[in-house]
């Protein structure tokens, strides 16, 4: 059956098999060695690397937002503090697509979310990526928070957290000063890559002191190490490093005074700045109306924002630093110092016949004052006197004196924006308008009109400098500072101006009605009326449309004999300093010497206005929502301050006369003066 040749080849085949089997075995052994080598490489040489990776898989580091440092007033009373906040977020990565609808429906029922809230959440979820949480609701009460917490197993992707939220006890009264906080923007996160920025509940300063003092206020985040499964399910907590709260920062502000001043400004669009004359500390810095920083920090709705931005009283603008006005007669102390500095005898008499003739143009005075000395000219605010002598000495000394009082300058303050205004001179006009300075310009500048623009803050500072005779520098943060040097004005010149200002209030002056009703304490001041339209207009800014009325200004200090405080009050379109601004200043200064008396006065006024700030803002909000056809106030605030301490005031909210703020879509006029 098998031939000899075949036999050999079968043997050969068998031999070939053996060789190839050995070869195969060798290859397999080599492969085994490769596998063993690879194992050793991974498990021994790269062990550290993979151990770390396994740990970072297993352990999830959750940041705990640091409690923000408090802002306290000069006496330690809180201006901005933190309150417990129960919030619920959704982690988009952990929200499964199939269960999304059911989760949202359940949240809606549990948290009583409105359709508005749900629309926002849906929109946020669309743009959200990864682990960046999307806020469902914050400021929840315990019941609703607990209702979500116990149903967590049915709510994948939902993360309830107990954290802290910013709280401003004084509300709108400190709005422009402290600013507000809010979640970081996508740009901020991209720039810093700090995971804290996208941690739920973390907010950073968006405006005002909160923004400028972000560094010290922020603190250091704590961290919670938890073991989690690949699906993000928590297995157990491993360790927790507590957060380090931010620094508490003490301000020079007097919280009581700040709130009083804010309330005293009532429904006016205005500002009030109060200085401690002894050291330049800012005691109050109020711009009204203002936004409620609590509401802005919680995030406000589009309609609320619309209401704020359409209001012609400009609640979004800090008028103390950003509002620029022609100072009007409140500038006369500066002109007076320039006149005295030029060697003019203060007892020199200028006769006022109701105006001043420059060529064929007549510059009006507000009355026929007759013979005027510097003392009476300041007291009665005689324009003719300052036209005459201002023209005599020229613009340069006037501008120089104004700058010495702090006009036209910016100061180092932890606030985001300041406008320094204009103190015009020949060089300025050439630079700005390529025109020569004229005598008419000098006349206008001498009475604080024309090109002169100052901020209410500068006005208060100028009063403080005149009162103290020192080159005070403003400060907002408490702490020792070196005493200010003397102003480059002779003391007797300053005394002449101060006595003129004393006369304004306590003698035959323009603000006699605003005399302090306190024993032994007198206030010196200077009224001012800044024209919004030219003085030739028919009603001279004393009536008609609100937005064409004159601004009322007042600067003051007290006590006259040994000045302690200085202040400025500016009431936009208040029609006159004596009429609108001086009474406010009087009450604010009264508050510093006799709190109760001032509060009693205020209580009567607030009754007439329809409650305190909070009550009036609520009324206005309701009116706006009604006008916009929106549902009445938010029934279940997904984002509204709930556990807020009730304001100390006795006034109860009542739906009294709604203030002027049915907003007009027309652009609001800028608070700047005439543009001559």
């Amino acid at each position: 059956m098998s031939g000899p040749v075949r036999m050999i080849s079968e043997a050969q085949q068998s031999y070939s098999f053996s060789r190839r089997a050995v070869l195969l075995g060798g290859i397999q052994a080599t492969a085994g060695l490769v596998l063993a080598g690879r194992m050793t490489w991974l498990a021994v040489y790269e062990n550290d690397k993979y151990k770390l990776l396994a740990e970072s898989n297993r352990v999830n580091l959750t940041l705990i937002p640091p409690r923000r440092g408090w802002l306290v007033d000069r006496n330690g009373a809180p201006i901005a503090n933190n309150r417990t906040d129960f919030r619920v977020d959704i982690i988009p990565d952990r929200l499964e697509k199939e269960s999304k609808g059911q989760v949202l429906a359940q949240l809606r029922d549990l948290l009583k979310l409105t359709a508005e809230d749900l629309a926002r959440i849906e929109e946020d979820l669309k743009g959200a990526a990864g682990f960046q949480p999307v806020q469902v609701a914050e400021n929840l009460d315990w019941e609703r928070f607990a209702a979500v917490s116990v149903r967590l197993p049915e709510l994948p992707g939902v993360a309830p957290t107990r954290g802290f939220a910013r709280n401003y006890p004084a509300g709108a009264a400190v709005g422009h000063l402290v600013g507000y906080v809010g979640a970081a923007t996508a740009e901020q996160f991209k720039a810093s890559k700090d995971p804290l920025l996208v941690t739920p509940g973390f907010k950073l300063g968006k405006d005002g002191l909160e923004k400028m003092l972000e560094g010290p206020l922020r603190g250091k985040a704590g961290a919670k190490r938890v073991e989690v499964t690949a699906r993000g399910k928590l297995v157990r907590e491993l360790a927790t490093r507590p957060d380090e709260p931010g620094q508490t920062i003490r301000l020079t502000i007097d919280a009581g005074l700040q709130e009083f001043a804010a309330r005293r400004l009532g429904n006016e669009s205005g500002s009030c700045t109060v200085f401690d004359v002894t050291n330049g500390n800012i005691l109050a810095m109020v711009s009204m109306p203002a936004y409620d920083p609590n509401a802005l920090s919680d995030g406000i709705s589009r309609s609320e924002w619309k209401m704020l931005s359409q209001d012609d009283h400009l609640p979004l603008m800090n008028k103390t630093l950003q509002g620029l006005y022609p100072p009007g007669s409140t500038f006369k102390p500066a002109t007076a110092l320039a006149i005295l500095g030029a060697g003019v005898d203060p007892s020199r008499v200028i006769y006022c016949n109701g105006g001043y003739q420059l060529g064929n143009r007549r510059f009006g005075c507000l009355g026929r004052h007759g013979p005027m000395t510097m003392h009476t000219a300041i007291a009665r605010s005689c324009n003719t006197y300052f036209y005459t002598l201002g023209r005599e000495i020229g613009i340069e000394p006037i501008a120089a004196a104004a700058r010495k009082l702090g006009f036209g300058a910016e100061f180092e303050l932890p606030l985001p924006s300041q406008r320094y205004g204009t103190i015009p001179d020949t060089a300025w006009k050439m630079r700005r308008y390529k025109q020569d300075w004229t005598q008419a310009d000098t006349l206008n500048a001498a009475i604080g009109q024309g090109y002169v623009l100052v901020s209410p803050f500068q006005l208060a500072l100028s009063a403080a400098r005149v009162a103290s005779g020192r080159e005070l520098l403003p400060s907002l943060l408490a702490g020792k500072r070196k005493p200010a040097s003397r102003l480059a004005f002779p003391e007797e010149h300053l005394a002449i101006v101060r006595s003129g200002m004393d006369e304004v209030v306590n003698g035959h002056g323009t603000a006699g009605a605003s005399k302090l009703q306190l024993d032994g304490i007198r206030m010196g001041g200077k009224t001012g009326t800044a024209q919004v339209r030219r003085i030739m207009d028919r009603n001279r800014g004393q009536g008609g449309d609100w937005k064409y009325r004159d601004h009322g200004l007042f600067v003051c200090f007290a006590p006259v004999d040994n000045p302690r405080y200085a202040a400025s009050v500016v009431i936009e379109h208040g029609m006159g300093g004596a009429r609108a601004a001086a009474p406010v200043a009087k009450d604010v200064l009264t508050f510093l010497f006799d709190k109760q008396k001032a509060l009693d006065t205020l209580a009567v006024l607030e009754n007439g206005w329809g409650g305190d700030i909070r009550a009036r803002m609520a009324t206005r909000d309701a009116a706006f929502r009604a006008a916009q056809g929106l549902p009445a106030a938010k029934p279940t605030p997904g984002a509204s301050p709930l556990p807020q301490p009730t304001p100390s005031a006795t006034a109860t909210p009542m739906p009294a006369a709604t203030p002027t703020a049915t907003p007009t879509p027309a652009a609001s006029p800028s608070p700047q003066g005439p543009d001559e």
């Binding site: 040749v5 075949r6 080849s9 079968e10 050969q12 085949q13 068998s14 070939s16 098999f17 053996s18 190839r20 089997a21 195969l24 075995g25 397999q28 052994a29 492969a31 085994g32 490769v34 596998l35 063993a36 690879r38 194992m39 050793t40 991974l42 498990a43 021994v44 790269e46 062990n47 690397k49 993979y50 151990k51 990776l53 396994a54 898989n57 297993r58 073991e227 989690v228 499964t229 690949a230 699906r231 297995v235």
Partner: protein, 376 residues
């Protein structure tokens, strides 16, 4: 290796004739596998219990197979190949009817994966073919194309399922038998080179999207750490973090916290090595090394061409299982979905491997019988 003298004694002869060392080795691997599955389920018996029970059943089956004579295997080689080929086509048709890819046939008592059985059948069939072929023909074209056809048809069918891993194993098993039978070496070298050239083309035009992704991801797993590269990355983390002695039984975090996907099936090695470390890995390599070596030795000792080719071919099939799985788990090969036999959870591979071992034991027994006959 496992020759026990069949002398008189208390132990009944059939029992004493069993290759006890091999059974011990297989039990060691299988038992270890059950422990790994116990840990993969976090101490739960949900995988360990059925796996252990099945192991015992299939081991019994292997022992039954070990009593089968070599000439029966030889006779059955083509019919078995035919049956499984028909079943493969059946699966394909069923899948087309059901409108989805299906890999198994439900026979009522067991879900049979014909592709799995084909891994063994292809070895038997190829070995039978070369056994029938006169040695002088081996260098002729007629020795090559029938074998290639026998390999290509089932491989293509499995590829259609689509199951790249199994298709590769069927091809590799068949080619191994061709190689051992003595098909000229230059053909292997030549086709190896051709393959190297055609792989990129294959990857781009023939493979399914997910298969292509797996291959591409294999080349650069970190490029897509959350997508297809996730498996390999997490598996390497599990193995690497285990260190030399591992984190200890039931202490693995990668597997227990679900970071390691498929930790009880294809990636069971990673689950095991996280807890048992390099030592556990080397144990598995050495145990399988001994088993495969025994298989090849059985082949070398065999008197018949069929026996030689089947034994060495089956040993190599076991090698392919182990090597491809381990290489894949450690990031040396693309994720192709081949389990680690006797350790990964799943009955099909378990059955295939124990059938392989049963056939090897039967050939081993044949060797001993032959030797005894010659001696007498």
């Amino acid at each position: 290796m496992n020759r026990l003298n069949t002398g008189p004694g208390f132990v009944p002869a059939p029992l004493a004739q069993l290759p006890w060392l091999v059974i011990l080795l297989v039990c060691a691997i299988g038992g270890f596998g059950v422990l790994v599955l116990l840990s993969a389920a976090g101490g739960d018996l949900k995988w360990a219990q059925p796996q252990g029970a099945r192991f015992l059943v299939f081991l019994g089956m292997a022992l039954v197979l070990s009593r089968v004579r070599e000439n029966i295997w030889s006779t059955l080689a083509f019919p078995l190949y035919g049956i499984f080929l028909v079943m493969l086509i059946g699966v394909e048709l069923l899948g087309a009817v059901a409108g989805g890819s299906q890999r198994w046939l439900d026979l009522g008592f067991i879900r049979l994966q014909p592709s799995e059985m084909m891994k063994v059948a292809i070895i038997l069939a190829c070995a039978k073919f070369y056994d029938m072929l006169p040695a002088g023909e081996i260098r002729k074209f007629g020795a090559i194309w029938p074998a290639l056809a026998m390999i290509a048809v089932p491989a293509a069918l499995v590829m259609l399922q689509p199951d790249l891993g199994t298709a590769l194993m069927i091809t590799a098993g068949g080619i191994t038998v061709m190689f051992l039978a003595g098909v000229p070496l230059r053909l292997f070298i030549g086709s190896g080179l051709a393959l190297a050239v055609s792989v990129p083309i294959l990857v781009n035009y023939v493979l399914h999207e997910y298969q292509r992704n797996r291959v591409l991801t294999f080349l650069d797993p970190e490029s897509d750490p959350l997508g297809t590269g996730y498996h390999i990355s997490q598996s390497k983390i599990a193995i690497g973090s285990g260190g030399i002695f591992g984190k200890g039984f039931l202490n693995g975090t990668q597997s227990h916290l679900d970071y390691l996907p498929e930790g009880h099936t294809d990636f069971a090695l990673a689950t095991m090595m996280e807890e048992w470390g390099l030592m556990g890995g080397l144990f598995v390599i050495i145990a399988y090394g001994l088993l495969i070596r025994w298989g090849i030795v059985v082949g070398v000792r065999s008197n018949s061409k069929f026996g030689k080719l089947v034994a060495a071919g089956i040993a190599t099939t076991i090698f392919f299982y182990v090597f491809i799985n381990m290489a894949m788990v450690m990031g040396l090969a693309p994720v192709v979905g081949i389990p680690l036999p006797l350790i990964s959870f799943g009955g099909s591979a378990q059955m295939t491997i124990l059938i392989c071992i049963g056939i090897l034991m039967s050939l081993d027994r044949q060797n001993r019988l032959n030797r005894a006959t010659t001696r007498w």
